[in-house]
Symmetry: C2
Subunit: 286 residues, 2 copies
């Protein structure tokens, strides 16, 4: 993944581009090559491998998804948004550069993703690539990730029901995780039922991811996380942990993990790594 | 165009979307339905009509392009960027809403464009739609519009050569105008030479557009423009007017207009409206 991202963020302008300004490129590289769990591309690649495909093109699709994820982190960290100074233990992009460069770097990463997903190596059928490009737009736009961030910002000091929080989280985090799993299956030409199963697997671990995140925000130290913690409570945001309490949240998380494993059961040992990722998501401590 | 944009920015979530948060939708509608010259979609539609196509799908492609343009205005107006309070005589998006909503509305408009350009009505051939989606990414990303805005921000209090300013402007404004003209021709299945000619026409009026803009920034009143003027000089930005003087700039503008007309000559009367647009661009007073 590092290699794929590094290769995409080069100085040489592509056909149809005029030049790639160094400062903007530096900020984009800083935003996307400073570590990170690469959870979304890993999920995409594992789901593709489950149905027999693992090659450069799959890696390319994973990189497109990671560019979207990285753009969202850069914009979410901005002073006007969550106002975070640290990310993965390092200064956030707007701290290392400046706010304007942060905005533009996010914009350009988002834009680049739609170039990358269109590459021929991703899938020989242009109609499939186009469909995935469109799905990516819906998973990350007003009806997905960006909309979820809007709802999250509006949550400060506003009472939310459990159902509303579920919607918010399904959009903010769930949509891209679901996209990752579903897209992996589609790119490996999996059958319709398998694609639907991977879609549900993605949805399930998306919910688990957010519950684990909420638990960590309450329980972990800033050192473990490489970023500030306790921010949700400080901002007066209603979380599921707040509504359900620690014990019920842990139980819910456990039951989501079982559901994820049940979805993987038909694939037996071949789905071992995907099961490990689900367990990692539910039990991670950073 | 208003109808097409209005129809795209609806409350009902699309297939693959979870919900469309009202506040974000309101900001996106405010950003894209508050008037504007609609220059880019008009160019796209006129170029398509020149080669015999005018239908809903063309309008759709024009709307995708306008979404990109509107996103760029919203982000450029942000306090961290050009810090403008007025746009088309009304409060800018971050003034009417807030900075966070401005950032997210821009993100979501940009993202939506890649959904819209993928619609089947745009062109029956998925490979062509995918190609245009990719071109749109390159015209608006690091090697195009976003990169141009980065160079423009870096221009404050820095000496730039005429050549550097040309590059900056070709990226910041030229890339989308060129995309508009080229895409119109492609969508109407024009021949390769005609597509290339429209590409050059777009490039030429892009240069004219920026020269006219620089002249207006020096000569027009804020009332005429519906936004602040004299900002480039105040920010210490080198402009072509600054380097070449008023008279030479006007001459250069006149010669670009002649070049644009020469490119349209082979199409005779059919290109009348495109010629009027070129003249409007060169001589506009707002």
């Amino acid at each position: 993944m590092e290699v794929a991202l590094d290769r995409l963020l080069h100085t040489q302008p592509l056909d149809g581009e005029t030049a790639r300004p160094q400062r903007l490129l530096d900020a984009m590289r800083y935003a996307s090559l400073s570590g990170g769990k690469r959870l979304r591309p890993v999920l995409l690649m594992e789901c593709a491998e489950l149905f027999g495909r693992s090659d450069e093109g799959i890696c390319q699709a994973g990189a497109a998804l990671e560019l979207i994820h990285c753009y969202s982190l850069v914009h979410d960290d901005l002073p006007a948004m969550d106002d975070d100074d640290l990310r993965r233990g390092q200064p956030t992009v707007h701290k290392a550069f400046d706010d304007a460069t942060g905005i533009l770097a996010g914009d350009a990463l988002l834009t680049l993703a739609f170039d990358v997903i269109a590459e021929e190596a991703v899938h020989p059928d242009a109609a499939i690539r186009l469909g995935l490009s469109r799905d990516l737009s819906r998973a990350s736009g007003i009806g997905g990730m960006a909309g979820g961030q809007m709802l999250d910002l509006e949550s400060e000091n506003r009472q939310r029901t459990e159902r509303e929080i579920h919607t918010l989280q399904a959009m903010k985090t769930g949509a891209l995780l679901r996209y990752a799993c579903r897209t992996g299956a589609i790119l490996a030409d999996a059958g319709k039922l398998d694609v639907e199963r991977m879609n549900r697997f993605g949805e399930t671990i998306g919910l688990a991811f957010q519950l684990a995140d909420d638990l960590l925000d309450v329980e972990a130290s800033p050192e473990q996380m490489g970023k500030a913690t306790g921010k949700d409570a400080d901002a007066g945001k209603a979380t599921l942990v707040g509504l359900m309490g620690l014990n019920q949240t842990r139980e819910e998380l456990e039951s989501l993990l079982q559901e994820a494993n049940a979805l993987l059961a038909p694939y037996g040992d071949k789905a071992q790594r995907l099961a490990s990722i689900a367990a990692f998501i539910a039990n991670r401590d950073h």
